[in-house]
Symmetry: C2
Subunit: 394 residues, 2 copies
């Protein structure tokens, strides 16, 4: 129907489906309702900003996945997925944001029509787009099913990246390099934040090496001065000022694959405490990269990093990284493993993480992060090449 | 603590809280857990890209609202809200995206500590950020509460805009005007979509009249040719081509307030059917504006529009608009009323809607929409001034 090329070969989608079904078997899940747009896309290729209405990919015990959504988005599903038209199902438009009819009534009817009435049905219980109401409607319509919490079942299968996925992430890495280059060029006392972010988007979207950029799942976070003590503020019209640091938590994105890389910039003479924090963070980062090898746990990576911080007298308790890859708003993380003490997840080759050493004090924030890919042997490789040092401009 | 100015006067937040409490009384809700970031911001001023982790504003029977979230975001809450430090509560960082601990365990403990154990507790059952798991944890931790579906309770209070809200929406209108101006200037055969979108973002963020833009809750939707038959595709690297139409569903955004305005552009000679659809849509739009007066229902506005389409031989069944104002991703709509036949919601002065006449055929899409504000008397006013005609370039 469409000229839109699939981002991956059909064989790769088949492999992914097989991995998911194997995990369903292990977890005793017979039917899986997938609502996370990243998971929907990873399984079928589906791409569109339609996750503000109810939609799902349903994995039945056999056959290709079913896509379920709004009629106008079913058109997009026919264009962007490998699914046959018969597998693309929709609910009437008056079910959209209605108070009297809910799309999960029809989703339940679809399951019932296909003989699912007593199965063990997996749902993404703690995900943005599977609301409490979805669960209530499903239980009311199909009272004899057993609902199984399959929150991250698909997410876990995404952890190890294929060669094609790594190609997209490397393109995203080239893009984030140009974004930081632009920041270095234009940052100056008096530059309004809204204009700064316009330049960051310009670099992100024009892309690199002839590959244009996609929208990242998180907008640029660029707080300055004491605002940078808060982790997730966005921007406004106030200008950059001499005597203030600004951290840039940004990602290049190519075909929904992300390469986040954070850096910090200071206009003027940075406080000694920030420079000391930098020494600790840069040394800790190297220690973390050394520890990020197949067979180690995520907890060991975090411990390697935190041990260096402690040596420098810095205590930090928030997690210091998470897996990344394909994603849709509001998060570019995969929401499975965490680089934090005690996380027992075993690291494997070709996993990709946003290793995110950041220090926030009451006075300022300092971030320098890398997106890393786990090697077969040796320390993890950083996908992007951006100087890690605090960038100091007069 | 911070230099970040509140977007509204304290008195306006007090009025909003009063309206919400009055609605809670009517619905028999004693405690309200608000998870929609737009509602959280509207009630307290809270602003930050932190909605990818669990957070909430809790309205107790009396006193100021409580903010609940991650420690690093509590810093942002102290900076961006009017709340006292005592009202800003957080959960330890190891609760973030954990499989063994859930933030709603602590939220429940907070309620219990404040004497809430048998109350009627309202939750936003069908909202993006109140997951099924939140509901399950809440019920397990507080088994004697009665959970009330309060999905759009706060959203409804947002429908009629204050003068300050309208000021922000007019600034957003100026911004979307410059975005369309940029589109008119640069669109041409061969222009890569990623570069086109870079220009749209540049105009959106540099803003207008000295006011820089904020990120809109939906990214620019700019499909061309047959892709435009699908409603919600984003962009890629393919170029604009002569002989193709492109619709632009975009919004200006200022301090989280949106003014969406869609237009369509054609390179070359547009198909006769598209021009005929335009005649119908433009006439229908005027009919809708005439019907959008205080006292009429949303259904009557939709009927006025659809009646004109039918006269022109066009059948359409999707809704043709919704209220807009403050918003966070993934949707800039308020998710209360819909401009569709049968919607009995009564229109009032100073309500704002995205009136969204769009025609999608199998071959192309045509959109021309307006953000409107309801007058005291007379037809609704369009906030932005952008020529509604199909823009034809050679």
């Amino acid at each position: 129907m469409s000229s839109i090329p699939l981002p991956f070969a059909i064989a790769e989608y088949a492999e992914r489906l097989e991995k998911v079904r194997a995990s369903m078997d292990r977890e005793g899940v017979e039917v899986l309702i997938v609502t996370d747009p990243s998971n929907m896309s990873w399984l079928t290729g589906y791409d569109g900003w339609s996750f503000y209405v109810h939609q799902a990919v349903i994995i039945m015990p056999e056959g290709e996945p079913l896509w379920f959504g709004r009629p106008m988005d079913a058109v997009g599903a026919r264009m962007t997925t490998y699914l046959s038209t018969d597998s693309i199902l929709s609910y009437p438009d008056h079910y959209v944001q209605s108070f009297v009819a809910h799309p999960y009534q029809l989703l339940s009817a679809i399951l019932r029509d296909r003989g699912v009435s007593t199965a063990r049905v997996g749902v993404e219980m703690d995900n943005y787009y599977f609301s409490a109401k979805c669960l209530e409607v499903l239980r009311a319509e199909l009272p004899d099913i057993t609902v199984v919490d399959a929150t991250s079942l698909v997410n876990w299968q995404r952890a190890v990246k294929s060669e094609q996925e790594l190609i997209y992430m490397r393109r995203a890495a080239r893009i984030v390099e140009t974004m930081h280059e632009r920041i270095r060029e234009i940052s100056e006392d008096g530059l309004r934040k809204s204009h700064l972010v316009a330049e960051i988007y310009d670099a992100a979207l024009r892309g690199a090496d002839g590959f244009g950029g996609d929208y990242a799942a998180i907008v640029p976070l660029t707080p300055s001065g004491t605002d940078a003590a808060a982790a997730h503020l966005t921007w406004d019209d106030r200008p950059m000022r001499r005597g203030e640091g600004t951290f840039f938590e940004i990602a290049g994105c190519y075909r929904r694959y992300h390469c986040p890389v954070s850096r910090t910039l200071y206009l003027g003479d940075p406080p000694t405490a920030m420079l000391k924090a930098q020494d600790a963070v840069l040394e800790g980062l190297e220690a973390g990269l050394e520890a990020a090898v197949p067979g180690n746990t995520c907890g060991q990576v975090a411990e390697a990093f935190f041990a260096v911080l402690r040596k420098h007298g810095i205590e930090k308790d928030s997690r210091t990284g998470y897996p990344v890859g394909i994603s849709y708003p509001p998060d570019w993380g995969e929401r499975t493993m965490s680089l934090r003490p005690g996380d027992q997840s075993i690291i494997e080759a070709n996993m990709t993480f946003h290793f995110m050493p950041a220090i926030w004090t009451d006075e300022w924030g300092f971030e320098t992060s890398e997106t890393i890919v786990i090697s077969e042997d040796g320390p993890a490789i950083c996908l992007a090449d951006v100087s890690r040092e605090l960038l100091i401009k007069p």
